[in-house]
Symmetry: C2
Subunit: 593 residues, 2 copies
């Protein structure tokens, strides 16, 4: 069975050596000294390794079951959920007012990576609740907040997001679910929602569904969509659970992975619902959840890659097969361990350099969210908004590929379910799809985010790269050659791609959209290149000032050099694809496919 | 449920327009006129679509089961296997002497793609038998051939390959299975073999296991390995089935995919076995099966990609979601079909251009096998030997990625099992692993095949590209620009990579081996680039001479242009990775991963 070890040292390196969070002026960061964050991470790591990880295979094997309208989660999930609740992990970065710990998002992200890496399907119950609570926090009335949030922050009640219907996924304007106003401030919700993660289960006393629906007579399409709070059980004015509401489970979907999470078809039949935010402004409210969820999903890409990698490394060190071509490394044994073989190392280094770069990227993103929320920093808000589709799309595409690579290290033993490596790829696969399939992320990036506020945020990103390079050039020849030069080249490719979109995309939007996926990946690589340059600088500084942990920092430098030398050059290919335009992409009649 | 449509028109295009097989001087090719091959392909297509494809999901859902030592295949498999046997498909390219049809391998490959595309797990029962029969054909005595082949060619008895043991996969020198000579020409085989595809089942009267084992007292390691015929039931001199032999099923593995194939743990307990080929020369005999199997596995990469693509196209045309950004294409409907969106097309064109290129590559490879076997063409033998790891490794890596892309077109509907898209990726995943994991293919290519016969075969490949370019230059400006120029650039990258290996790899073999995976992919792209240039030339010729099927040939040109413009440029990235050497790949101590 796979193991899970919390990457505490690596997280601490990013939080302190690289991001220097306790030196930041973001309110709340002043408390985040290294000892303090280490204590939190250690506790979260303990529950991840000891409680959540052992249930990961159980969840995959047993799955959830529906019996007489009741959904049962896999053996052990309920008890583990109690432990997570008891530890107050569910409200880690929620306001104290509603029972939370008021920690910054950067700490929530660090803890989230561990929980998700240990057991993605399990952690989704909590993650969906967090998203729903955030939407109520942002758009609810004081009364709604007081009624729903304390129970959701503690996960006594969990939450869901209800967008998709059988005929409508990305294109929510096609929605058919109806919300009939009852004249008393309530609505009757009727319709079918599908793919509802954590849609029903036996781990909470109530479930708070956030449901998109159309109020009859409202505007056509997406502009007529409103968001409603629809609880599984109605709740009286004193917060007591009352009668069952008109929502029932039609089915639990059979999926490729995340079997431990109950993905439900939910049927709403005149269920009582309460408007959240304004009428017909449901999408705006829903996007509060969606943006948060997208960052969380990007983190899932990282977390599954990291968990799979840990096990691949262990297997590569343990499994004896073949001999080092330059001379036996284990001459007294029957063969050398797999890790002596260059192609195994190539695969492991692909994984390692992605994982550590992605971890820095996500934590950097979280600091921008904190800066936006806690300091009102509009530039940070704009930049993280630009980078959200990159974090979601790039990190989940790559994260999935990395789980496939980790599985491959096991050879045939990776294909049988016994070792658990198949589960990492099957679980990781969903992250490329939900919360907006990655093609939609690429469209959001190129079709909307790039030009937002007159292109101000992408210019700020380029400026960031430029000033980093300028400030750090000329101090260390190896750093200039191995890090700054490739970073500048990759950033130049990204700028050239943006320029191509501006010039050609204006005349023909298909020229831009045909390159959207490549642009998202190109951007992602430049971000990871920037992260590695920053990590290398921090590692070099530690080495220069004298550290007792030389191997740790030298490993950072070597892993970063690998990324710059062997992963970053693909930006040129993405640029070539983008610059080839839309002729060959759009050339065929649909009939000729 | 997914559909399967035989790609008869595309196969015919490659066989006749591109390869002009009936004009070849390979013995047996003179009969392969277009009408004749069309008739065969049509019949094979019919059984694929109507008999095998409907059982694909059944096999995945039911799997195989072991009850009281007996393995049962999924519902319908047995009846379908009878139909395949009755149609004489199992011996299509086997000698008439043993009941086969004596067709060239190129026809066997074309039919094989369809069978495998319709139902990979099912077709493996027949494929393994074919491989085992080929080994007996090549290495058996006349008596062994007479005894085993007629029943195996007809698949009354099926075959298996037994290499892997729990502690030994790639490194077969570690093998523990023993073969004790009995002094009467027979051996007693004892040991455990794992991952035995089609290892046991209820569809044949007997199963002929080909088993690698060590004769006590023989040389150490791989040089002491011999190959044995070990039937499930002993067979008397008249060919009658007798007593059960000492081989039993320990377990059926739970796998990520190919559930319809019974992957067995087989326990040998003094089973009676007969030496195939010479003592201690088992690997040579096994490689007859392995090389054939590797080409067949490469074809599986293609076949799953093609089957998944067919369904992705259908879904993209049917599913209404969003609007064409340049203006509604389905203004009377609630939304436009997915296929109007550039990023969906980008994905479909990635798939289409890979599939058609891979199909040409495999059929070209099969003509070389025919030239080698039927005409004694040593150059063809050398070239296909060089290309075998590329066909296996590149086509299965890419084929898998394409099934993931096809699944992605379905969004959330691709993740649930209901639509069958998950099965294509789960089934395709094994092809990257079995018959030598793709890292081993890359090692075989760079560590052995490249330098074989003094590098003669890779030089011949470059010469082939060069002379093709020379012969076809200057006749059509668009062809020169869109096909020849990118092909020459990619081929130059491949040559530069080979040169780097020669120069650096001599000093440090890790410099070559660190780039082996990239080299395999670089080589694969150049091969597909060459295939597309040849297909484009053939399509252009058809258009120039006047054809009634203009759309078909123009679609070929457009698809080829896509490959050259958007897929081939990645050769530069592979070259950059290769030329970065082994420093960053081998730099870390194992402890620091």
């Amino acid at each position: 069975m796979p193991t899970y070890t919390a990457p505490i040292k690596d997280l601490q390196f990013v939080l302190h050596d690289v991001l220097n969070i306790s030196g930041s002026d973001i309110p709340g960061y002043e408390d985040l000294e290294a000892d303090f964050t280490a204590a939190i991470l250690k506790e979260a790591g303990k529950i991840s390794s000891e409680v959540l990880a052992p249930l990961n295979v159980v969840g995959d094997t047993e799955g959830c079951r529906l019996e007489n309208g009741v959904v049962y989660t896999p053996t052990g999930f309920k008890a583990a959920f109690e432990q997570v609740k008891d530890g107050h992990w569910t409200g880690l970065d929620m306001p104290e007012e509603f029972g939370g710990q008021n920690m910054p998002a950067v700490i929530g992200s660090a803890v989230g990576e561990m929980f998700s890496g240990a057991n993605q399907a399990f952690t989704m119950y909590q993650g969906l609740t967090h998203g729903a609570a955030s939407a109520i926090l942002a758009h609810g009335t004081d009364e709604q907040k007081a009624k729903w949030l304390p129970k959701m922050v503690s996960c006594e009640w969990t939450g869901t997001m209800n967008l998709t219907e059988p005929h409508c996924g990305t294109d929510l304007g096609l929605m058919r679910t109806k919300a009939e106003p009852q004249g008393d401030g309530t609505y009757k919700i009727s319709g079918q929602k599908i793919f509802i993660s954590a849609g029903d289960h036996d781990m909470a006393d109530n479930i708070v569904h956030l449901v998109l629906a159309k109020i009859p007579g409202g505007p056509e399409g997406i502009k007529g969509v409103s968001l409603f709070i629809v609880p599984k059980f109605k709740v009286d004015e004193d917060g007591n659970i009352g009668a069952r509401n008109g929502v029932s489970v039609g089915n639990i979907e059979k999926k490729m992975g995340i079997h431990g999470n109950s993905t439900c078809v939910l049927n709403y039949d005149e269920a009582e619902g309460y408007l959240l935010g304004e009428e017909h402004k449901g999408m705006r409210a829903m996007f509060t959840m969606m943006n948060e969820a997208r960052l969380g999903v990007g983190m899932q890409g990282l977390s599954q890659a990291a968990a799979a990698y840990e096990n691949a490394v262990a297997y590569a060190k343990d499994r004896l097969q073949g001999r080092d071509v330059t001379g036996a490394k284990n001459p007294d044994g029957p063969a050398d361990p797999l890790i002596v073989h260059p192609d195994i190392r190539r695969s492991l280094m692909d994984q390692k350099s992605f994982i550590e770069g992605a971890r820095a990227f996500i934590l950097w993103g979280a600091t921008m969210i904190d800066a936006a929320h806690r300091k009102g920093d509009k530039d940070a808000d704009g930049l993280v908004s630009l980078l959200t589709p990159v974090i979601k799309g790039f990190l989940t595409d790559e994260g999935y590929d990395m789980t496939v690579k980790a599985q491959q290290v096991y050879g045939g033993h990776g294909y049988i379910e016994e070792h658990g490596m198949s589960q990492f790829t099957r679980d990781a696969r969903i992250a490329m799809i939900y919360e907006g399939a990655n093609g939609v992320q690429a469209l959001d990036l190129v079709g909307r985010k790039l030009a937002q506020d007159g292109g101000k945020h992408v210019m700020a990103f380029f400026e960031l790269v430029k000033s980093f390079a300028k400030e750090n050039a000329g101090q260390n020849e190896a750093f200039d050659r191995d890090f700054l030069a490739p970073l500048k080249a990759a950033s130049k490719d990204l700028q050239a791609a943006g320029m191509y979109f501006m010039q050609s995309g204006m005349k023909n939007p298909n020229d831009a959209l045909s390159g959207s996926n490549d642009f998202m990946h190109l951007f992602g690589h430049v971000c990871l290149g920037l992260m590695w340059a920053q990590m290398a600088r921090a590692a070099q500084a530690a080495l220069d000032t004298g550290t007792s942990d030389v191997a740790f920092y030298e490993t950072k430098l070597m892993t970063g050099r690998y990324y710059m030398a062997r992963r970053l050059p693909i930006t040129a290919t993405h640029l070539a694809r983008i610059q080839s335009g839309s002729d060959t992409v759009m050339g065929l009649d649909a009939a000729n496919f």
